[in-house]
Amino acid sequence: MTAASPAAMTDLRAGLRRAERRRQVRAFGLVTPLLAFMLAIFVLPIASTLLFSISSTEMKTALPRTTAALANWSGDALPDETTYAALAADLAQGYAAKTVAGIATRLNQEIPGLRSLVMQTARKAETLPPPYRAAFAAVDPRWEDVATWRAMKSAAGPLTPRYLLQVLDLEREWDGSIVSVAPDRAVYITYLTRTFWMSIVVTLLCVAIGYPLAFYAAHCRPFARRLVLGSVLLPFLVSVLVRTAAWIVVLQKNGIVNSLLVWLGIVDQPVQLIFDRFGVYVVMVHVLLPFLVLPLYSVMRTIPALHMRAASSLGATPLSAFLSVYLPQSLPGLGAGAMLVFILSLGYYTTPALVGGPGDQMLSSLVTEFALEIGNWGMASAAATLLLISTLVSYLTFSRLFRARGFLP
C-alpha cells in the first residue's frame, strides 16, 4: 500500500469532518423536540417561579407616585409633604381600583400591622384634607414614625433580598447590615438541618435493611427471589397515601403492634409509635426501600459467585472475602440506590404531614404552607430555592464522592 498524497489526505479529512457535522446536526435535530419540551415545561416554569424569591414589584404597580417620590428620599427623617400627598393620591386611586389590599399585604411582611394601617388609611384617603402629613397623623400616629416609611422604601424594589435572607433566619437592617432574626422567629435553619438529618437517617436505615435483603434476593433460589422481590415491589403499586393510612392503623395506640406488645407483656401501656419521629421513619423507609433494593439487586446479580470462591480458596475468611471482594463490587449499586433515597427524602412532604408532629416537618411543608395557605409567593419561592440548592449540592457531593472511587459511571 502506498501512502496517500497530502492533498488527498486533506480532502478526506474535510469530507470526514463534513460527514461528522452532518451527523451532529441530524442528532441535534432529533433531540430538539425533547429539548424544547424540557425548556417549555420544566426549565422555564421553575426559573420563573424562582424569580418570585427576589422580585418586589408590588409597590411600583400599586403606589407609583409614592415609589417615585421615595426614590430620592434618604430615610433619615420623615419624608416631605409632597410624598404624603403622593401617597394620599395613590391610596385613593388604589382603593377605588382595589389594588391596595395587595400592597398592604406586601408591606405587612416588612412590619406586621402595616396591612391594617394601609387599609384603614386607604378607606379614608379620598376625603383626607391637605396638609397631608397632619391628616395622615390624625388617622394613625404610625404615619409619623420613620420606620413605616423605611418599610415602604425597602419594599419599593424592583428586587428584594428579604425572602432569601428570611429563609436563612437573617434580615437586613435599615443601614444595610445583615443580622439574625429574633430567636422565636428563627425557624428556617432548623427546618433545613432537620430535613438533612431525617434524610440521612432514612438513607442509613434503608441501607441497613436493604443491603441484606438485596443480597439474599440476588443469591437465593428463584422461588424465594420472586417472593422477596415481589414483597419489595408490591408497595410500589399502592399509592403513598394508602400505604401511609395503613401504617396509621397498624401503629396507632390500640393498633395491631401495640396490642401485640401489651399481650406479650413487653409493655404494660400502649406506647406512642406514630404521630412522632419514629412513625415518620417507619413509613418513609417502607416507601423508599425499593429505590435502594432494586439498583443494588441488579448490580449484585452481576457479581460472579466464582470471585467469592476464589477468595476462600486463597485462604480468606468469609468476612474478609466479603469485605475485600464482594462489598467493593456492590458499591456502585449501593451508591446509586442511596443517592436516590437521600434525594427523594429531601423533598418529602406527604408522609411527615400525615404521620408526624410539628417537630417532624421538613422544608417542603413550608413551601406548601406559604404557597397554598398563606399565599406569600416570595417566601414559598425562597423556601423552594433553598430546597433546590440543597438537593443540587447533595447530588454533586454524592456523585463526586462516588465517582472519585469509580462507583458511579
Partner: protein, 351 residues
C-alpha cells in the same frame, strides 16, 4: 405523509377552537368535597338546575388562596358561585376578586343572622370548634375550657388543629380572658406570650391534626383523650353511633359564605342561585344531614328537634367567640405570618 401532517394541524386548530368555545361553559358552583358535596348537590345544585332548566356543574374548592391567585393572574374564572371561609371572602372582596352583591336580588338582610351578611358574601353554613371527648373512655367528662388543660383529672393526649389560629384564642380563654377581650389581649406582645405559656402547660400532650377528620378518628381509636374538633365532624360521629360528649363553653364559631367571582359570565344567575340556596327549608334539609348551623330565620322549624342542641346556634354560642368578626380578621391578616413562624418554632422543639 402530507395527509398526516394536515390532519394533525386540523386537530390542533380544532382543539384550540374548542377551548375558545369552552369559555361559554355551564354554570358552576363549588362546595367542600366529600359527603358534604353530595348533600349540597342533592339539596341545592340539581334542583336549582331543574327549576331553571339549565345544567349546573359542581366543583370542589377546599380552602386556601391559590385558586383565587390563579384567577387574578390568568383571568380564567372556572366558578360562578364559590363557598369560602371568612378570611378568603374578605380578602377577595378587598382585592376585587369577588363581586359586590346586589342584596335586592337575594333578600332582606334582616332575615339573616347578622354575621351572615357582608358586602360580597351571603353566609350559608355556620360551623364551630368544640371540645369533644369519648364517653366510653372518659367516665366523667370535662365541662369547661379550663378542664382541657387539667392533666391530673383528665390525663392523656389532646388533639388540636396545627397552627396558631384558634389555639391562641382558646388558650387565653382557658386562662380567664373573656371572649370579648381576646383580640385586645392578643394584640399585645404580653398577650401572645401569655397564650403560648398556657399552651406550654400541655405541650407534650398535644397531638396536632391537619385534616378535619383526624380528631374524631383519634377519639374513637383511643389515641387522644380530649379533642378540639369541628362540631359537624363530632355530630357525624354521633350519627354513626359513637358516644362522644361535647363542651360548648367558649366555642369558636364562624360562617362559610357564598361569593360570586367578579369576572363570572353568570352574575345574574349566581344571584338567583344564592337566593334559592338561602331558603329556610332547604338550609334545614342540609342541617338535618350535617349538623352545621343555618343562617336564615325560620329554618329552625324544619330542623329535627334532637338536632337543635347540636348546632352552633342559640344558647350554644352564649359564651362563644366569633372568629370571623372584623376584629378577629384584622388581627390575623396583620399577624398570621409572624405568629405562624413563632408557632412553627415553638411547636417544633420538644420542651
Amino acid at each position: 405523509m402530507k395527509g398526516f401532517v394536515g390532519s394533525v394541524l386540523l386537530a390542533a386548530v380544532l382543539s384550540i377552537a374548542q377551548q375558545g368555545l369552552a369559555q361559554a361553559r355551564d354554570f358552576t358552583v363549588t362546595a367542600w368535597g366529600g359527603a358534604v358535596q353530595d348533600a349540597k348537590r342533592n339539596i341545592y345544585f340539581t334542583p336549582f338546575g331543574m327549576e331553571k332548566g339549565i345544567k349546573v356543574l359542581d366543583d370542589v374548592y377546599e380552602g386556601g388562596w391559590a385558586p383565587f391567585k390563579a384567577m387574578q393572574d390568568t383571568g380564567v374564572v372556572p366558578w360562578d358561585v364559590v363557598q369560602v371561609e371568612t378570611a378568603e371572602l374578605v380578602r377577595g372582596c378587598e382585592e376585587g376578586i369577588f363581586a359586590p352583591l346586589d342584596w335586592s336580588k337575594i333578600g332582606d338582610k334582616k332575615d339573616f343572622v347578622p354575621y351572615a351578611v357582608s358586602q360580597c358574601g351571603v353566609g350559608t353554613t355556620a360551623w364551630s370548634i368544640v371540645i369533644a371527648y369519648n364517653k366510653d373512655s372518659v367516665k366523667e367528662g370535662p365541662a369547661t375550657v379550663q378542664d382541657f388543660f387539667n392533666l391530673q383529672k383528665w390525663p392523656g393526649k389532646r388533639a388540636m388543629r396545627r397552627g396558631p389560629k384558634i389555639n391562641l384564642e382558646f388558650a387565653l380563654m382557658a386562662d380567664g380572658v373573656a371572649p370579648a377581650d381576646v383580640y385586645k389581649v392578643l394584640s399585645t406582645p404580653q398577650g401572645i406570650d401569655r397564650a403560648f405559656a398556657k399552651l406550654d402547660t400541655i405541650k407534650p400532650q398535644i397531638q396536632w391534626w391537619k385534616a378535619g377528620a383526624q380528631p374524631t378518628e383519634w377519639l374513637a381509636s383511643g389515641d387522644v383523650a380530649l379533642a378540639l374538633a369541628y362540631n359537624g365532624r363530632v355530630s357525624a360521629a354521633l350519627d354513626e353511633g359513637k358516644h362522644f360528649g361535647i363542651v360548648w363553653q367558649n366555642t369558636q364559631y364562624d360562617v362559610d359564605a357564598w361569593a360570586i367571582p367578579a369576572k363570572s359570565p353568570y352574575i345574574e344567575l349566581a344571584h338567583q342561585f344564592i337566593k334559592y340556596a338561602s331558603d329556610p327549608k332547604r338550609q334545614a334539609d342540609f342541617t338535618n344531614i350535617f349538623a352545621y348551623g343555618t343562617t336564615i330565620n325560620g329554618a329552625d322549624k324544619f330542623i329535627k328537634p334532637e338536632r337543635i342542641t347540636l348546632l352552633p346556634a342559640g344558647d350554644n354560642l352564649k359564651t362563644g367567640l366569633h372568629i370571623g368578626s372584623e376584629e378577629a380578621r384584622a388581627f390575623w391578616l396583620d399577624h398570621l405570618e409572624e405568629l405562624n413562624e413563632r408557632f412553627n418554632s415553638w411547636s417544633g422543639t420538644s420542651e
